[in-house]
Symmetry: C3
Subunit: 138 residues, 3 copies
């Protein structure tokens, strides 16, 4: 059985990190499946998904990492060609990755106690985002 849901949210862009754990849980609950995997996938090339302990300190630390690894104030060929100004956001998103798969049993994801699912929006402006949440199992 395959059940497909969506999380739609408005971000501030610029490294905005949203905790989408409850939205993913809701798709699992609504699916009435008891065990299987949930795939979380962000459509778009300037955002990514991962897990983190979602607290303000780590949200700040994670953003500082990206500022250091992939600076927004150095030249990008993407920007030279297209004038978008968000080359750094694309590069960060490709490094982080757009998909995440999490097993669940008894309707409960295998997340640790301090482990939340996040959407990281690297783009240089607020965005409307769609995260596809697909549940497969029995």
């Amino acid at each position: 059985m395959v059940i497909t849901g969506e999380i739609n949210l408005r971000t501030r862009g610029d490294g905005d990190i949203a905790d989408i754990t409850a939205g993913v849980e809701k798709v699992i609950m609504d699916s009435r499946l008891t065990s299987g995997i949930v795939t979380v996938f962000v459509s778009g090339s300037t955002a990514g998904v991962t897990t983190i302990e979602y607290e303000p300190g780590l949200v700040a630390d994670f953003n500082k990492l990206w500022a250091r690894l992939v600076p927004d104030n150095t030249p990008y060929d993407h920007d030279a060609r297209w004038g978008d100004g968000n080359g750094y956001a694309h590069v960060r998103a490709s490094l982080l990755g757009a998909s995440l798969t999490i097993p669940f049993t008894d309707r409960k994801m295998a997340l640790g106690t301090w482990q939340q699912i996040i959407l990281v929006d690297f783009d240089n402006r607020p965005r409307q985002r769609t995260v596809v949440v697909q549940v497969m199992g029995e």
Copy 2:
């Protein structure tokens, strides 16, 4: 239902980035499944997969990232032990990751308009690569 396909391609190595989106789409079409997930996995330890807006600017930017994060001109223990000279390629591949999972519905992947699936071959020589594409669903 599980359908397994393969994309076989020759790369130039050295950060060669190939757009494999059409190859993945073909496996989904041939599977005749309408919804589910497709898993894209590269066999081998010196290449990875991710998504990107596939245009020459970002292809160049992504390679510059790797040159900066994991330089090819510093010593690696792998090379000291085995003399392969591709320690940097292994480290880059392990950081990027070998797998990607993408939901599809109505035979269409949840990719954004400017989001393509790529194989990044970090090895220090041209390689024949096999990307396993497995479709599961209904």
Copy 3:
């Protein structure tokens, strides 16, 4: 069909890298499924999973990468707030990622010859870890 297994292991923390390939293979064999995907997911926010050629040189190289990209001797907001001292471990884990999906056919994973599945424990102390291994297929 969905079969869920676990790998339980004790790590030394501090970048300890464990080859868990045999444990994943065992869950596939015990499942009696012949083809499908296996999802490998680490519960917890200070460890990650990926693939690597598991040999001492690359294990050392991969740890050197993390020490350089996400140093353990610079200030983290997480540590300032909570006094845990493992902010770097959280950030590394979020960048590497907690999940990996691998297709298998004829009970054999699509891994390359020199490609092993690893758990990387970034935490600043030894940990008891649970890796959830879920097999889905036919």
